[in-house]
Assembly symmetry: C5
């Protein structure tokens, strides 16, 4: 028996119970680029980093900007915290699906012992007509005991309400720092598997950054692998198994990097991207321009049936 | 698309569910100066600082003083803790709206790891006929994990009971101290956004105090901005988006500073002020005098339709 | 408007809901010295200090001693923990009201971070026919976050069941030690206000001990006040507002000190005393003797209508 | 009024509600030596110390040994944890009463901050047909706050279900070590009172070991008392008031010590013994032999009517 | 009375309530090698160690590999976490029983204070049609207080739903390290007893590794015993009493070690094995080969009737 690549994974939708299937199908086929892809717009940077992320494009400080962008440019969904969901989503309900992010934190204190507690519930998501719930899991954090137990409650409620669960799978904390760091192939690979085993329907990953100097501190065999970025992300997508994978963007980079990453995640068997600053730190027309290119890249490189 | 200034924000009342709308409308239009303004009287200093705040005006030690002032001088609402609400508000029920403050603490221990736990519930507020609930959020505190999770419960109950939520958004803790301090434009701006994203209907902010020497420790671009007080508060009000903003007073200052701050918050698109010591540390007639001037300033500088 | 002295406070009973009013009235008028006074007998020293307090009068080791004393000498109420309430109170039910103390601790570990967790509930008090509930609040303790939140639950249950709440308001912990200590006028004054704002119907205070040497570490203006004992207790009683105040006794002192303290608290607008060791560390007839004198002093110095 | 010695205490059964009375009566009169005595067999050493305690008598490693001993030798009850209760008690149900011990811990980590969390509930005890519940309280431990609050839940459930509560009252932790140690008369006396005040129906105490060298660190007057073992246990039994007292055995000692201790606790007004290793570390016939002697000593020295 | 060896233990099934009996019987007799044996396949290494364990046999990274292996090679059950259970088990439901592992953690942070919090519930297991629940107990960890209390909840739910409880009994933490280490005969023996006393129906143990150098730090008499591996495991199986014991495998070893361990556990009165890496780190046919040999060894050495 051969290991099935991410591309050959059994259809996720076919194993999901009806509520999850109905909602997730909406994101994959009815909204956004469709064809089983996910193009997600995150707007949680205002709490994770503060308003400083809005300076490159002052218009982005008004949440209206991201909501209008998500609706008009045809996103699969917009992801945000409870405050935005309650005060800005009503005008766009039905026009673009909502992913309610249920935990979060500021970046003011150091993140050696990272834990992001919940500030909203799956029931809030149901009430607001959301089609999925987002949860940040700090894989490997010294406080993983609290994190995993908190996730239990969210996951159980997702099962109860038929709500798809998107896990922001972020390696973090002092233990990770000692073993290659949060972008090491080791850490991203582990995070992908953790998220899947903890019940994610969709896993959000950062692009791994192989770095021989740091990776030698990872456990074997990672300490000796010579993976490039594409190989590393492919392995991570495989580690996520039947869970769909979307690639995170991070701080703003060149257009060709954006599109290249989009291609790489799709070629690796991923299902799409969740780029925030790389999109909304641009002015309206520029944003539409890059969104068009991302969309084209996504639908042009579909390798997996969700 | 241009970023909408605080002044151009969509009406908050129009996006609120009926219970919140009915109650908040009472504060904005039926009581106090009206015209969509908020003139709030806080009397929680007895627990936050102890009775020492009452010495400048001994009459203020008797909570009757603040309740009578709030009712007779025509305040939008009085904000206090459960003990005062239960023992002094009954005589004024219907004469002035009540904001029940549901958490608080003494200032005896140091506040490096500030957290203010709840001592009352939203259900208490409902029972007592309050029109809003107040919550102190220590933005950026090392204990933000507990704070945000606790706020979740209060916010959910506010949603359940249709109770407006006023967040005292105070940057606090060792992390904030290292990045410019609790009155830095960076910290106040972050606090405004946090409160809005966590579900505040009204955000209470301190006036930022730009200080190039300290602000250089803030993250970019704040470290290099040359904002004056007015610009700093305008940005913070914008960061609060559709949430209304009221300005906090702090310790007693000169009359022209009081009125100047009132003008600045209104010009910035704020909705009013919540001055305590600057009002009730004065004798009765002096207090009425300054209240009259504040009221005039508020209604004379309305720039936003709530 | 003038500040109302404690003596001029509005009737507490008139603002209390019926359950609290009915029960508290029983203590103030139907049992004990009456005339709106409170003469309370505490027997929680067995857990707070251990049996060592019973050696001066071996008979006092048997809880029967205190129960019989409370019933036969005509106390307003006896205050004790759940074990005594369940095993000794039944014989005296109806003969003397019961205050069930719902938290407590031994004095074995140091009290730098004092917190007294609950070992009984308000529902226990209802079941046992108690007329009030007692709670020790360590004002200013580094663990005040837990204390205030725990008190919330007790206070809510008191509201639910119409049970009067007596708060043992004790300044305690390292922060208090640095600011003048637990008997400083500053600390006692703060404690009185805290208890009232947290929902106490009756506040139990220790007699402040002004000490210029230590008080200079208190925040201004306390650091410069030259209050004597009588002034200090008068201010503290005023800080408690509409909440009734009873004075705590502490370790055994001379008869004239006992009676002098009784006079001082009554003159200050307090409602009575809660002396334990000063009473039951005496043999039966001696105890009756001093109780008679206390009773006479109480009823002879009533200054406030509860 | 004279202090009542333990022997003169009012009947405990007469103040207990019917459920507790029915169950405790079974232990005191229907099973075991009867005549109001308690001969209890504890088998919780397997978790408190590990299997090492079973080596002196290998047969004792099989819990059948203790259960059969308890049933055939006529014990008042057997005390064990949930696992033994579920897997071994069924065969003996009705033949010997069960005391379900609801908390416990290994002795692997140090016990400076001792706390024994619950691993079973009072409801488990009801379901299994137990006649009492056992709880270990570490009197004076730095974690007493958690301990007392946890005990509250157990005690409340005991009250709800009419289940007698047996408290293993063990002084423990760094604070106790500094004040004479866990076997000092001070510590045992305090433990007895604590257990009674926290709601124990039966208190399990260790035999105090007066030691002038260590006792001088106890608070006065203990630091200066010259009690012998018999006086110390008599005072502790008195401190337990109406709660019944049983004496704990500890590690194996000579037969005459076993019997002498049995006599001392009965003469002091105690109700019996709970000897484990001193019994089941003996081979079957030896065990029956000493049990017979203990039984005779118990019934021959009854001084108190329970 | 002689101590009963593990082999002579009373039938476990006969003391179990019907739900547990029906489910456990399925594993022991209807699936797998039968004859009262347990051949379990664990696939929780992806979270306990990360994907690094899958490199020796890349096919094993796809959970399909283990599920298909378990079903086709005839396992008694497969043990995995919630994510795999929800996304991979549906295809095999009815073909191989499921043990839902309800807690787990990564190995990124150090394990001095090991605690594995729950990420799934017994109710999840019921919903998914599982036949048992798995729980990792870190025996002797400094956080045993939390561990034992958490286990209480799981055990109670198992009792409520008639779900067999399998305890992964792992000595762990700084206390264990100081007393001979996690594979010392002392530690394994203690762990076996703990698991049984805490309510395990099946106990999973590691093979003890006697080491005179380290064992001298164990408490007496372990410090002086000269047990070999077979004696050590036999004592541990006896300590588990009526609970069934399965032997854990650990990292991959030689075939003869695998089979020898299988023989030793069966000869000791154990009920089977739970080998993961030693099986699925082999290619398909190699895996089937060793599974066949394990199965033969198991059924050829049955010494105990479950």
């Amino acid at each position: 028996m051969e290991v099935k690549s991410a591309i050959e994974q059994k259809s996720l939708l076919s194993v999901l119970p009806p509520g999850k299937r109905a909602r997730l199908r909406r994101l994959l086929f009815e909204f956004g680029p469709g064809h089983g892809t996910l193009m997600l717009l995150p707007i949680d940077q205002g709490i994770e980093h503060g308003p400083r992320d809005f300076f490159p494009n002052p218009a982005s400080k008004d949440p209206e900007y991201q909501f209008r962008l998500a609706a008009e440019a045809g996103y699969s969904a917009i992801a945000c915290q409870i405050g935005l969901a309650e005060k800005y989503y009503p005008d766009y309900a039905g026009q673009v699906p909502l992913i309610l992010k249920v935990n979060g934190k500021t970046d003011v204190p150091p993140s050696d012992n990272a834990l992001s507690t919940t500030n909203a519930s799956v029931e809030d998501a149901v009430r607001l007509g959301a089609d999925a719930v987002g949860y940040t899991l700090y894989v490997g954090s010294p406080r993983q005991d609290e994190d995993l137990h908190q996730l239990k409650g969210v996951r159980e409620d997702c099962d109860r309400f038929g709500m798809p669960l998107v896990i922001w799978a972020y390696p973090r904390g002092s233990g990770i720092d000692k073993k290659g760091g949060q972008l090491s192939p080791y850490a991203i690979d582990y995070a992908a598997r953790m998220a899947m085993e903890m019940g994610a329907d969709v896993v959000k990953l950062n692009m791994p950054k192989p770095d021989p100097e740091k990776d030698k501190d990872s456990p074997a065999p990672y300490s000796e692998l010579q993976w490039d970025e594409a190989e590393a992300i492919r392995h991570a997508v495989e580690s996520a198994g039947r869970s769909l994978v979307v690639l995170s963007g991070g701080s703003r980079v060149d257009d060709d990097v954006v599109l290249n990453h989009t291609r790489e995640i799709m070629d690796a068997g991923g299902s799409g991207v969740i780029f925030g600053r790389n999109v909304w730190q641009r002015e309206w027309n520029d944003a539409l321009e890059i969104i068009g290119q991302i969309k084209e890249t996504l639908t042009g490189h579909v390798t997996r049936i969700p």
